[in-house]
């Protein structure tokens, strides 16, 4: 915007303000003119003007007039009262081969709210803008689905490991994501660290606070007292609400963006737009998932955790230190969930409700894959992530979870134990 233009705008704004304020003081009607103009341009889909097209107008107080578009395809009518005008394009007057995009919309209702205005009346002609083909859309949806799947998988793995080793259905798991996101926000936007430095700090603190301390101060004492699983589940719901509102209290309710990464433009790779930050964070997320899987498969502690998940009593009897296993599972789970939260924060920002918004998907993924099975969580997450995105090709976007959850129900009807779950774990 040029300086002169800006000055003009300010001048106009001031003039308008004085007009309005003087009117409201005198209390008279705010009408800024005595007539309004209805105008339009009739052009075909290649923007060639169409002259000689008949337009008919009817309006309040018996207003009726008819006119034709000029050489430039333009037409305009002056009206002197407010109200609703019916503007009709005579479709028989269009040149042969031309038709309205929507032939049922030959009559437009134009509401003249105030006199002194110019109202634009469009009559789209031709086939209309061609939509992106389904294939192109699917590519984008598939890419976003895989990213969402990896985020869910990072979060779901910890939930499932905790369930497997302690039997706790942890409804406060979503808050671990929020914790990771908010810590990153705090260290980068508030404390001033570069985002690359803030992320490792936030992940480490997530593991410490959300994993070690949470287990040590809340769940371990409850386990020691022999609190029942249902009671622990209810405690986790209360704890989730409590933590959520602590976040709200500290960080207030709006969505925060990481300063250096907000609104990064996507790179066009083939049919897909994807942001550099998303490529990097998803790659790291994938590496973490692979690392966690290898840990479970290869390391002594990983093997022990699977043994505890299988049969805690037998594991304890065979010399495995169950509490140490549970502690490391909590730390790993909080670490991964914290990073999942950071991925969401990088991609679109963080608010105190982030964990709550993700929790349903995490539970869906865990249930679909098989409760208590680490690899089940991974498979379930990818299925849920991709299905949610691809289902929007068929169903309205506001119902995108419905399609995915419907598939969840169908799979569970056929395989009640989940995709990779074992039969005896159910019931």
């Amino acid at each position: 915007m040029g300086k002169a233009q800006l000055m003009r705008k300010i001048a106009l704004g001031l003039a308008g303000f004085f007009l309005i304020s003087s009117f409201s003081i005198s209390g008279s009607a705010l009408a800024a003119g005595t007539s309004s103009i209805l105008a339009g341009e009739i052009k075909d889909s290649t923007s060639t003007p169409l002259p000689g097209v008949r337009i008919k107008l009817t309006g309040p107080n018996g207003f009726a007039t008819q006119l034709t578009s000029d050489q430039m395809g333009k037409w305009q009518v002056k009206v002197t009262s407010t109200g609703i005008y019916d503007v009709t394009l005579d479709q028989t007057s269009l040149p042969s081969g031309q038709a309205l995009t929507d032939v049922t919309k030959a009559t437009r209702k134009i509401n003249v709210l105030m006199l002194g205005t110019t109202l634009t009346v469009l009559f789209p002609i031709g086939p209309g803008t061609e939509k992106t083909p389904i294939l192109d859309q699917s590519a984008q949806l598939l890419a976003d689905g895989l990213i969402l799947g990896i985020i869910i998988a990072l979060a779901a793995l910890g939930l499932n490991l905790v369930f497997g080793t302690t039997g706790l259905t942890n409804f406060a798991h979503g808050e671990l994501l929020t914790l990771g996101g908010l810590l990153t926000y705090f260290f980068s936007a508030v404390a001033g660290l570069p985002v690359f430095a803030a992320i490792p700090v936030a992940v480490a603190l997530s593991a410490l606070i959300g994993g070690y301390l949470q287990d040590r101060l809340l769940w371990k004492p409850l386990r020691k007292r022999g609190t029942g699983l249902i009671a622990m589940l209810v405690v986790s719901i209360g704890f989730a609400i409590f933590v959520r509102y602590v976040f709200l209290f500290i960080f207030s309710g709006d969505t925060r963006q990481l300063p250096q990464f907000a609104g990064q433009a996507g790179l066009e790779i083939g049919l897909v737009s994807i942001t550099p930050k998303s490529i990097m964070s998803t790659s790291v997320g994938l590496l973490l998932l692979i690392g966690a899987t290898l840990w479970l498969l290869r390391s002594k502690m990983g093997k022990a955790s699977r043994a505890v998940a299988d049969n805690p009593a037998l594991a304890a009897a065979s010399g495995i230190e169950v509490e140490a296993v549970i502690r490391s599972v909590w730390i790993l789970g909080a670490f991964l969930a914290g990073f999942a939260g950071i991925m969401v924060t990088l991609n679109q920002g963080v608010s105190f409700l982030m964990g709550q918004d993700m929790l349903l998907l995490i539970f869906a993924a865990v249930t679909l894959g098989g409760l208590g099975t680490a690899y089940g969580a991974l498979v379930g997450s990818l299925v849920i992530g991709v299905l949610i995105q691809l289902s929007t090709l068929i169903i309205p976007t506001e119902l995108k979870y419905v399609g995915a959850l419907l598939i969840l129900i169908i799979i569970l009807l056929v395989r009640p134990q989940g995709i990779l779950g074992r039969k005896e774990r159910v019931g």
């Binding site: 308008g16 409201s24 705010l30 469009l122 803008t129 976003d144 209360g238 409590f242 207030s252």
Partner: protein, 421 residues
């Protein structure tokens, strides 16, 4: 024994979270007259006005200016001698948003405190969840910011009023604005609630080009599929009708290459904010236009509002909130009663037909002299129709000049009769 211990733990958490949710309320609520009494017998005690405005949730950014409007009105009314020669009392309350249950608790505590009127909520969706409770208790439910057309004909026993116009008006202005700016193929991205769907419907009706509507769930974990659907329509203009989640939608639009720097973008009253987009890439919001009901908030009023809350950066719905409180006070003054029924019966009369006045002090003097008054507020000339909606309104048009700053395009403001649904 074991079970009772478990229950104690659970109860402790439940209580803790309830206390937390309710901690914004003042302690003076308990000493209050029962609500039923007020509904039957004409109340003449001090006028109590409860606010039900967003301190938390997806509309929290609208909270500060709305609270400031209420506080300013209360201060000025009390400076002018109060209502029925008694100071009026403002009981603060949070409305949360539709994803939380806070509005119900706040409405309950206001009703228990014996308020004559409740000012709120900002979100139409929230108002719809408490309108039965409030109107059922015989209390005036006065929203400064609800614009959903669904509230026009709602069976509220005449207790529901609002100083913001129905979205039939904003929709017509928004659609026309987009067409006038040269848009031919528009996408309306709206959140899935009474407000979003209503405004999108009337926006699409007001826009005469081709349009695609994409409805999104505001609680979705992410918005890539929604934006992808918008992108598939290859729009030359995008209107985003939403609340706080608009920031997330915008980052996704930018990612998929149809951000405000590529496609002309329009916002509405629900997401016109100076704080929400400041971290987005520099100047990306420049040129984004938005509609917001209400006349231009002049500097004199801004200064008065800043005197109440020096931290204000937005003034959305502050004038409407101010007018809501003044109208309630005038209705109580004219009806000589501070109960909901008296206020309801007098609100239409003080807003229309009679000698015009623009401040509480002037209007009060006229009432004392037995004159029929017509209050014209700082948000415009308010005249209630039979449904408690303003029949005439002004729609403002604003344009971002930087990510954190927007300016009024006063020449494009539209004033007129609010169209019927």
């Amino acid at each position: 024994m074991q079970i009772s211990k478990k229950l104690k733990v659970v109860a402790a958490f439940a209580v803790a979270s309830l206390v937390f949710a309710g901690c914004s309320k003042s302690a003076s609520e308990e000493e209050a007259a029962p609500a039923e009494e007020a509904a039957v017998v004409k109340g003449t005690g001090p006028l109590k006005i409860g606010s039900l405005l967003p301190e938390t949730g997806s509309l929290a950014f609208l909270g500060p200016p709305e609270f400031a409007g209420v506080d300013l009105a209360v201060a000025e009314i009390n400076a002018a001698g109060g209502v029925l020669e008694q100071p009026i009392e403002h009981i603060r309350g949070d409305s949360g948003d539709t994803s939380t249950d806070i509005a119900q608790q706040t409405a309950d505590s206001h009703i228990a405190a014996g308020v004559g009127a409740i000012v709120g909520a900002a979100s139409s969706g929230v108002s719809l969840t408490v309108i039965d409770k409030i109107s059922g208790a015989g209390i005036v439910h006065f929203s400064p910011a609800n614009t959903s057309p669904d509230l026009t004909s709602y069976a509220d026993n005449g207790f529901y009023f609002r100083s913001a116009p129905s979205d039939t008006f904003q929709g017509a202005v928004l659609g026309q604005l987009m067409a006038a700016n040269g848009a031919k193929n528009a996408v309306f991205l709206n959140l899935d609630d009474a407000y979003g769907n209503g405004l999108a419907k009337y926006g699409i009706a007001g826009f005469t080009g081709t349009s695609t509507q994409v409805v999104y769930n505001p609680q979705a974990a992410e918005f890539s599929a929604d934006v992808s659907k918008a992108k598939a329509a290859k729009p030359d203009a995008i209107a985003i009708i939403g609340f706080d989640e608009t920031t997330k939608v915008l980052t996704e639009l930018i990612k998929q290459g149809i951000g405000p720097n590529k496609v002309k973008t329009y916002l509405v009253d629900g997401n016109l904010s100076s704080g929400a987009y400041k971290d987005l890439p520099k100047n990306i919001m420049k040129g984004v236009k938005a509609t917001l009901p209400g006349v231009f908030t002049n500097d004199e009023l801004k200064k008065r509002l800043l005197g109440v809350d020096p931290k204000l950066t937005d003034f959305s719905y502050a004038p409407e909130s101010y007018d809501a409180v003044v109208l309630i006070a005038l209705a109580a003054e004219q009806g000589k009663g501070t109960d909901g029924t008296t206020i309801r019966d007098n609100l239409t009369s003080v807003s229309s037909g009679g000698t015009k006045c623009t401040t509480f002090a002037d209007c009060k003097a006229l009432i004392a002299a037995g004159t029929d008054i017509d209050y014209d507020g700082v948000s415009g000339a308010i005249e209630f129709d039979a449904n408690g909606d303003p029949s005439v309104a002004t729609m403002g048009v604003y344009e971002y000049v930087a990510n954190d700053k927007y300016e009024a395009r006063a020449a494009e403001f539209i004033t007129g009769a609010v169209p019927a649904a």
